[in-house]
């Protein structure tokens, strides 16, 4: 099981970083390039999920009206909500399977960024355990060639407990979730106790998520923190771009 995971998930990522590094010569830049490639691949699926969140906000007033009208009748409310979603071509629900598939991919990616930063402190040659995961000429080259772990010549990506990168990672994460929170529909205090609790939890999440990010970034080699910072920045840019687009004109909404 572990071997299969290494073969199909971990090794492709690991070899990709080293491969890019061989041509670029800067480990930090190699990590950034691979991160950009991965975000580009994920752009379409994540765009559709951000878009559906946005269109949910757009029909929010109608939804609240329905909730008011069918207050005592949960079943009818559910039916009307599904009708509203269908009319506006909104799918409010995701599904479990894609999420479960994503998880091992993410773990493999983290493993690759940690592995690439895991070098012998004195010689800067990759640890033997990691070299055996390299393919073909990469394995031959990096059995003897050291990997320079410096980013831009001064930031050692192989060291742990880099407080500056950890704070940056946490900060950007905070910015990113804050952005999502601000875009979320405001829950009125009239609403059910359930929703009140959800909104209290969402407030906590805005702070807890970045703290966890910062702590993990601090515990692992700085290369992982760099990946985190870059991927969060790209997500922020994507959200900014998608949310900024003009809303559909009111006439269009009426005609449906």
């Amino acid at each position: 099981m572990g071997n299969l995971f290494n073969l199909i998930l971990f090794e492709p990522f690991f070899n990709a970083v080293i491969f890019i590094y061989r041509y670029i010569g800067d480990l930090g830049v190699a990590i950034i390039i691979l991160t950009i490639i991965i975000r580009a691949i994920l752009y379409l699926p994540s765009r559709s999920s951000i878009k559906s969140q946005k269109s949910l906000q757009d029909i929010q007033p109608k939804l609240q009206e329905l909730q008011k009208r069918y207050k005592g009748n949960k079943e009818e409310l559910g039916r009307q909500m599904i009708k509203l979603y269908k009319e506006n071509k909104v799918n409010p629900l995701s599904s479990c399977l894609p999420l479960l598939i994503q998880l091992p991919i993410l773990i493999a990616l983290y493993k690759a960024f940690i592995a690439v930063a895991n070098t012998d402190p004195s010689t800067h040659i990759l640890v033997a355990d990691q070299i055996k995961h390299l393919w073909g000429s990469l394995e031959i080259t990096y059995t003897t060639t050291p990997v320079n772990p410096d980013f831009l010549g001064f930031l050692d990506l192989s060291t742990k407990k880099n407080i500056i990168l950890a704070i940056l990672a946490a900060g950007f994460q905070f910015w990113q979730s804050k952005m999502l929170m601000a875009k979320k529909p405001v829950v009125k205090d009239k609403a059910a106790r359930d929703e009140g609790m959800a909104s209290a939890m969402s407030k906590q999440m805005t702070y807890i998520f970045p703290l966890i990010t910062g702590w993990i970034a601090y515990q692992f080699p700085a290369g992982l923190a760099l990946y985190w910072i870059v991927t969060t920045l790209l997500m922020i840019a994507q959200q900014y771009y998608l949310f900024r687009k003009p809303k559909p004109k009111p006439e269009e909404v009426k005609s449906i």
Binding site: L93, S94, L97
Partner: protein, 84 residues
């Protein structure tokens, strides 16, 4: 033997509950990111797994839950789908 399987079943049920309280996009902290819920079924996949294991045991319940997760994909309409 029965003692052991009962014990195991309780442990698995507790693990599902733990998952729901922590990582779950429908029940845990991250649920706030998805105000309209995440899973396309009701009960959600994890709740379904909990009920299935409780009702049918680890083997049959586990298989039912596995089959449910496979069905929970973008090509399925979802909806109300309780443990039978």
């Amino acid at each position: 033997m029965t003692f052991l399987t009962t014990h195991l079943r309780v442990m698995i049920l507790k693990m599902i509950k733990f998952y729901q309280k922590t990582l779950s996009f429908d029940h845990g902290f991250p649920s706030s990111l998805f105000p309209y819920g995440y899973c396309r079924f009701r009960p959600t996949c994890s709740e379904y797994a909990y009920q299935a294991v409780k009702k049918h045991g680890i083997l049959k319940g586990g298989l039912l839950a596995f089959w449910r997760v496979l069905r929970c994909n973008p090509f399925n309409k979802g909806g109300y789908d309780p443990v039978k």
